[in-house]
């Protein structure tokens, strides 16, 4: 059953119109004949669909349009073109710590946020102790929100938002909240929610997190949809892109190209494993430099060598599957 569907979703921002530049600049620009409302497509023709139980990871560099797309999915924004179809109720965990009131206490903020998220008073009253316990803020209940540390703020936000039992769960960079212990705890909580068969979307700058949690993946770049498909394929291709220096980066042109770029990373990864096993890797090399060097090595390899590594990888995969 399709739970979430985006059909040709495009979102446009306008800048430089009368309201934003003011009358003075408007008149000056008009007189010079330079007045122009600038359009900016944060997302352009994004199309994908998710079945029940799917977990989608959205990857892309800064300004790719990930958060804007999430706003369209949650209904905060309406797409300029195209449509978003959702079945069931949505819980969105977007930029958690914003929207709290610094002048109110932790207790008051908890109730306010609960109300904003659409919980009932009864529900919040029942769950209040649990929220505070999960956020580890028992000693701070009557402190003003502005007196909390930024980690505490995020923890509270996460605890309130995670109570829900939604059909669709949307997570925007929320798993990087708090210290290591809390990160583990929150990842556990998310996993237990996902285990109930909800459909989810995760935006993360950690490709590893996407690999761990998602079965499908969407790659955006400057508002354009680069690829949508199974996580290993997309994540490998995206990693190749990410580890290549900015001036040499290249986006895949078609399906075949995507597969090729993806394979490049897989082979480079295997080379890296071998290197480390043999202790032949240069000691003071940064991760980025190392991966890029390995990617270049892959390019220099002959097709025979490549297929040999491929076979090794396939054998290894089989081995882990049997285990």
């Amino acid at each position: 059953m399709t739970v979430l569907e985006c059909k040709n979703v495009s979102i446009r921002y306008k800048t430089g119109d009368l309201q934003s530049i003011g009358l003075k600049d408007y008149v000056i620009q008009k007189l010079r004949g330079k007045y122009k409302v600038q359009e900016f497509w944060a997302d352009k023709n994004i199309t994908f669909s998710l079945e029940k139980g799917d977990m989608l990871g959205i990857v892309g560099t800064n300004g790719a349009g990930k958060s804007t797309l999430l706003k369209a999915v949650t209904g905060i924004m309406v797409p300029t073109e195209g449509q978003v179809i959702t079945r069931g109720n949505i819980a969105a965990l977007l930029e958690l710590a914003s929207g709290f009131d610094p002048e109110l206490t932790v207790r008051e903020n908890t109730f306010l946020r609960g109300a904003l998220l659409g919980y009932t008073r009864k529900f919040i009253e029942e769950k209040y102790d649990e929220i505070i316990a999960f956020a580890e803020l028992e000693a701070f209940q009557d402190h003003m929100f502005k007196q909390l540390s930024s980690g505490m703020k995020s923890r509270l936000a996460f605890s309130i938002a995670c109570l829900v039992n939604p059909d669709i769960l949307i997570l925007d960079e929320v798993l990087s909240v708090g210290d290591e212990a809390f990160k583990d705890k929150s990842a556990q909580r998310i996993k237990s929610i996902l285990a109930k068969g909800v459909t989810g979307i995760l935006v993360s700058h950690s490709v590893q997190q996407v690999r761990d949690l998602c079965n499908k993946c969407l790659w955006l770049d400057h508002g354009k949809q680069i690829a949508f498909g199974p996580t290993p394929l997309i994540c490998n291709a995206y990693s190749t892109f990410l580890f290549t220096p900015k001036d040499k980066r290249r986006l895949p042109t078609d399906e075949q190209d995507l597969q090729k770029i993806s394979d490049r990373f897989r082979i480079a990864w295997r080379l890296g494993e071998k290197e480390r096993a043999a202790h032949t890797n240069p000691p003071k090399e940064s991760e980025t430099d190392r991966v890029y060097r390995l990617l270049c090595n892959v390019d220099a390899m002959s097709p025979e060598e490549k297929s040999k590594i491929e076979n090794e990888l396939n054998a290894k995969k089989k081995g882990t599957a049997e285990k």
Partner: protein
């Protein structure tokens, strides 16, 4: 539908609580200011108009008080609403909530103030030997529509304010003007009889007039005034709702 209403009610209550707490934060007298401020205001007007300008018209204090009572509610509610949408931008750009609730909370807050002022007003009425009868209950009518009217104007203003911040400056000037054209501290007899109906173009004056009729003169105004009071409220509420319906998803591009 009923569940949605219940959920929104919880949110409304929490917003009202928040707005109240923030309003009286760090004041020593707190809520007492809601009583004190209108009281002091009326005393000043009394001092100026009775002692300095020497007005001795019957029930003149009550005449002024009717004006300031309605006017201060209108001012507080509409100005509060105007800023409420922008002030809550961090919330509605992250969470999908019905935006009108922010305004409803501000209107309600102003209404509480109005109710407290009404208490002082009644004390003044007793002091001024105003006749209290069953007809006083008819004041519910203008109060109800004044409430709706303020909310409607607030919706229109708040939407415009998001698109043009200039509205804030324009509106404060407009309020000064409104203060002088609403016949708050002068009798309408300053205009010749045939021009006096101009006052009814001003919705705020209509509500003030209703109050004065009932409280000072002791009778209910004509049917035309009733229709006018309801119509102004309906027009602005409708305009506000339409504007919100049309711009609901435009706001976040401009905050």
């Amino acid at each position: 539908m009923l569940e949605k209403l219940k959920k929104n009610r919880f949110l409304f209550e929490e917003l009202v609580k928040r707005d109240f707490k923030k309003k009286y934060k760090r004041t020593v007298l707190g809520m007492l200011w809601s009583l004190l401020a209108p009281l002091l205001n009326v005393l000043i007007l009394m001092l100026v108009f009775v002692n300095i300008f020497g007005r001795t018209q019957e029930h003149f204090i009550i005449y002024i008080f009717c004006g300031t009572l309605v006017m201060s509610f209108y001012t507080e509610a509409t100005q509060g609403c105007m800023r409420a949408l922008m002030a809550n931008a961090p919330i509605f750009t992250k969470i999908n909530v019905p935006k009108y609730l922010f305004l409803l909370s501000k209107t309600f807050q102003a209404f509480i103030n109005f109710a407290l002022t009404l208490v002082i007003f009644i004390i003044f009425c007793i002091g001024d030997k105003i006749h209290f009868g069953i007809h006083m209950f008819s004041l519910i009518y203008p109060i109800l529509f004044l409430l709706v009217f303020c909310f409607g104007v607030g919706m229109v203003l708040s939407a415009l304010f998001v698109f043009f911040r200039d509205v804030e400056y324009l509106y404060s000037i407009f309020l000064t003007l409104l203060n002088y054209v609403s016949a708050i501290f002068y009798p309408v007899t300053i205009l010749p009889e045939n021009l006096r109906h101009i006052f009814y173009i001003n919705p705020v004056y209509v509500y003030i007039f209703y109050f004065r009729c009932v409280v000072i003169d002791g009778y209910m105004p004509s049917l035309a005034i009733h229709i006018l009071a309801a119509a102004y409220a309906a027009i602005f509420l409708l305009a506000g709702c339409l504007l919100y319906k049309k711009c609901n998803h435009e706001f976040l591009y401009y905050v």
